[in-house]
Every structure is written in structure tokens, then in C-alpha cells.
């Protein structure tokens, strides 16, 4: 399992694109939004939590189809399916690798982009914490979507249509944490629910994803 | 015969009209697909001459 994780990480970092693309997209979005809505600081600060969360979500989406598609093309997915470790674990490891190369870097650069968007000072800690707790859910849900569409020739667009509705609860709770954090309001409930979604998704969705892969490899 | 709808006539009639259009679209599409499929299947069965 460790070998698989390292292999996935190496592939993501080496083959270019996958790793930097999501981050660059996230950065671009944070630059484009102020250009679109105007430079007025108060308004930017108010919409910053939502923009950053939507940006993280879309940046995550960009690299999802690579989770299984590359392995399917060169046939290593068939090997993984017959490997001694269960397919559920393979899915979990791959989702974890995806998170390490997209979710985690996104979390780390988010405060910098918060500055661009004029995020109020109280929000930074909560922004990092909410992304840290929420992005794993994005990766696992995305891995499920990628597993469902792995056999399709033009799965990319369909993948976003399938995955985005599933992202709704994570987005709502995540952005809510930051919004409440910047306003200095109580935020234990959305924070707990956000963590619950991540944990629940990580515990259950690999099973659904693995059964989807088995169907696709049939 | 027509009931007095007052100032909300647009909203009420619009709702009924929009619903009629949507449902008619669904029914029309369903019937069209059904007829087309029936014909295609009948042709195939006649061509293959079984059952």
C-alpha cells in the first residue's frame, strides 16, 4: 500500500500538469474574481470565503479524471484489481494521494490568496482549518466519480456533472465555517459536520467506488 | 364560466400554461419514442422472420 501511495505521488509530481495545474487554476481564479466584481475591499472580503471554497472545489475537479484514467489506459488498473490488497484499499490510497497533491497544497496556499481577496484577519485560521478538514472529502467523493466514469471515452465533462452535486454539502459547511469565523460567530456545528462528512465519505465511499471499478473492468 | 382571477391572472394562467407545456412535452416525447421503438422492433422482427 505504501508502495502504491509513493508510486502515485511520484507519477503525479513527475508527469507534470496534474500537480501544478490545480494550484495555478486556484490562483488564477482568485485573480480573476476581483477583476470581475471590482476592487471594492469590503465586498471582496464578504465573498472571499465562498470564492476560495468554490475555487478549491473546482481546482480539485481538474485533476480527478487522472486518478484512475491513466491506470486504466496502460492496464495497471486490471493488475491492481487482482492484486493481493483489496480494491477498496486501492481506492482509498489513490484518493489519499490525490489529496496530498491537490487538497493539501490548496490548503497551504489558500491564506495567500485570502490576502488577494481581502479576507478579514479573523478568517485565515478557519480558512486553513476548514480546507484541511474538507478537502479530503472532495478527494474521496471525486475518486468515486472517477471510478464511475473510468470506462468512458469522454468522461471528463460527465465527471463534473456527477461530482459537483455531491460536493454541495461539503461546500456549504466549509464556506459557512469561514464566514462565521470572519464574523466571530459560533462555528462548532458546521466544523463538526464538515469533519463528519470527510470521515464518513472516507469510510464508506471507497466501497462504492471499488464496486464501480469492478463493474467497469468486467 | 371563467373565474375571476383578479390581478394575479398572469401568475395563475402562466403556471397552468407552463405545466401544460412541460407535461405535454414529456408525454409527447414518451409517445414518440414508444412509437418509433415499436416500429423499429417490428421491422427487425419481420426482417429476421422469427417469432
Amino acid at each position: 500500500m505504501k508502495a502504491l501511495l509513493l508510486r502515485d505521488l511520484r507519477l503525479a509530481l513527475r508527469s507534470g500538469g496534474g500537480f501544478g495545474l490545480g494550484l495555478a487554476f486556484f490562483f488564477l481564479l482568485s485573480v480573476l474574481v476581483p477583476l470581475g466584481v471590482g476592487p471594492e475591499g469590503g465586498m471582496l472580503g464578504r465573498i472571499a470565503p465562498g470564492i476560495l471554497w468554490v475555487g478549491a472545489l473546482l481546482a480539485c475537479l481538474l485533476s480527478l479524471d487522472r486518478i484512475f484514467a491513466l491506470d486504466q489506459e496502460d492496464g495497471s488498473l486490471d493488475l491492481l484489481a487482482t492484486a493481493p490488497i483489496p480494491l477498496e484499499a486501492v481506492v482509498a490510497v489513490k484518493a489519499c494521494a490525490h489529496w496530498l497533491v491537490t487538497g493539501l497544497p490548496l490548503t497551504l496556499i489558500a491564506p495567500g490568496l485570502g490576502v488577494l481577496l481581502n479576507l478579514p484577519p479573523g478568517g485565515y485560521g478557519w480558512l486553513v482549518l476548514s480546507l484541511f478538514l474538507g478537502t479530503p472529502a472532495l478527494s474521496v467523493i471525486g475518486a468515486f466519480g472517477a471510478a464511475v466514469t473510468v470506462g468512458l471515452r469522454r468522461g471528463g465533462l460527465l465527471l463534473s456533472l456527477l461530482v459537483l452535486p455531491l460536493y454541495v454539502p461539503t461546500l456549504i459547511f466549509g464556506a459557512e465555517v469561514v464566514r462565521r469565523g470572519t464574523g466571530g460567530m459560533a462555528l462548532a456545528t458546521p466544523l463538526a459536520l464538515l469533519a463528519a462528512i470527510s470521515l464518513g465519505a472516507a469510510a464508506l465511499l471507497p466501497f462504492a467506488a471499488a464496486s464501480a471499478i469492478r463493474v467497469n473492468l468486467r | 364560466m371563467m373565474p375571476e382571477l383578479g390581478k394575479y391572472a398572469g401568475a395563475v394562467l402562466g403556471s397552468y400554461a407552463a405545466t401544460a407545456v412541460l407535461i405535454a412535452g414529456l408525454v409527447g416525447l414518451t409517445l414518440w419514442q414508444s412509437v418509433r421503438m415499436k416500429r423499429a422492433l417490428a421491422e427487425a422482427e419481420a426482417r429476421l422472420g422469427d417469432k
Binding site: I197 | M1, P3, A18, T19, L29, A44
Partner: protein, 242 residues
């Protein structure tokens, strides 16, 4: 003789052929009764004026939009567990019907909201949930359309339906949490206090029955088309081999 007998496509075709004229007749009868009664023979509400007549479309459509998804969930489960093809095809057949009802509920709601709330659209929890439900229907239909092999499509859409149901439910609560509502409570509930007044209640129940039958008829018709399409595919495949 168990209910599973009807999972045999041939039996289903025979039974549904016999049932269809009746369900079509009943649908027309109930819808006509409910809607004509509601439109022509009910008084205006003292607060909502004549817009109360929209309830006979809005409430049944919204109910059936949700029930259609639940029906898809049940038939998907039956497909996964017992692998009856008719079940999977019925789920496929129900999706566009559910989507249409969702759109009806959204459009009539917007038309009602404009004079009553002063806006076509508000990010109210119920409205937002319905918008999200629309997205789920679209994704589900798109997945069916994208996969060529019918059994693979049935399996994957069933899995999506299961996972989607969980997330749809989650979204419902998330959205509740996210914004306080503008929408009134349930129009129909067992608690008499909350119910709409009796004059509106009877025609509403009739038109709900009409919408249920409309759904049933549409699903029967569409399932029959799907079964024929499967048979056609099988025939063409055999032709190619021969």
C-alpha cells in the same frame, strides 16, 4: 405466485399492456377532475388571492419529484440485489419523468413567488434543495446516456443513485442550516392544524392522485419502450453474428 414474477420482461409486457388503457383513462379522469375543480370551483384564499390555484400543480409536482427519486432508489436496490432487468429499466424510465416534475415545481413556484414574495427566486432551503435535486436528475440521466453496455449502465447508475440519495439527503440538511426559510410549511400533513383549509384540500388530493397516476402511466410506457429497445438490440446483435 410472487411479485417477482413480473420481473420477467415478457410477463411485464403482457401485464402492462392490459393495464395501460386503465391507467391512462384514470390519469385523465383524475387530473381533469382535480384541476377543473381546483381552477373553476374553489374560492380565492383571503391572503393569497387567486394564486392559491397554483397549489393544485405545485404541490403534487413537488411531491412526485421527490417520490420519483425514491422509486428510482428502490428499483436500483432491487436491481443490485436481485438483478431484475425490468427494475433497472424502470429506474431509467422514471428519471426524465421525475426531472419534468421537478421543473414543473420550480416554474410554478417561481410564478407564485413573484406576486407573493416579490421575487421569482429566493435562496430558500426548499427551493435550493429542489435545484440540487434537478442537478442529481441531470447527472443520473447523463450517466445512463453515456454508457453503451446496458448492464454496465444499470450497475453504475444504481450505484450513483444510492450514493446520490445519501448526498441529496445531506444537502437537504446542509441547505436548511445555511439559510432560514421563506417557504411555508408542508401543505399536507397528518397534523390537522398545519393543513390547508378543507375547501382546497379535496381538489388537491384528487389532483395529487392524478399526478401519481400520470407518473405511473409514464413510467409504464417508458419502461415498455426500454424493454423493446433491449430486445431490438439483442435482435440486431444476433443478425450481425448470423
Amino acid at each position: 405466485m410472487s411479485i417477482w414474477e413480473y420481473a420477467n420482461p415478457k410477463k411485464f409486457m403482457a401485464l402492462s399492456a392490459g393495464a395501460l388503457p386503465w391507467t391512462v383513462g384514470l390519469t385523465v379522469l383524475l387530473l381533469a377532475t382535480g384541476l377543473v375543480w381546483g381552477f373553476f370551483f374553489t374560492p380565492d384564499d383571503y391572503r393569497q388571492g387567486s394564486t392559491v390555484k397554483i397549489i393544485y400543480l405545485h404541490v403534487p409536482a413537488a411531491m412526485m419529484a421527490i417520490n420519483a427519486w425514491i422509486m428510482m432508489l428502490v428499483t436500483s436496490l432491487i436491481w443490485i440485489i436481485r438483478r431484475h432487468h425490468v427494475s433497472a429499466l424502470a429506474a431509467k424510465a422514471a428519471a426524465p419523468v421525475g426531472l419534468t416534475f421537478t421543473l414543473v415545481a420550480l416554474v410554478t413556484g417561481a410564478l407564485w413567488g413573484q406576486p407573493m414574495w416579490g421575487t421569482w427566486w429566493a435562496w430558500d432551503p426548499r427551493l435550493t434543495s429542489f435545484l440540487i435535486l434537478t442537478l442529481f436528475y441531470l447527472g443520473y440521466i447523463a450517466l445512463w446516456a453515456a454508457i453503451e453496455d446496458p448492464d454496465t449502465a444499470a450497475d453504475l447508475t444504481s450505484i450513483l443513485c444510492l450514493v446520490g440519495s445519501v448526498f441529496a439527503l445531506l444537502s437537504r440538511y446542509a441547505v436548511n442550516f445555511w439559510n432560514q426559510g421563506l417557504h411555508q410549511g408542508a401543505s399536507l400533513s397528518l397534523d390537522k392544524q398545519e393543513n390547508v383549509a378543507d375547501v382546497f384540500w379535496l381538489p388537491l388530493v384528487v389532483s395529487i392522485a392524478g399526478f401519481i397516476l400520470l407518473f405511473f402511466t409514464m413510467v409504464l410506457l417508458r419502461t415498455r419502450t426500454e424493454i423493446r429497445s433491449r430486445r431490438l438490440k439483442a435482435l440486431l446483435a444476433r443478425e450481425r453474428v448470423a
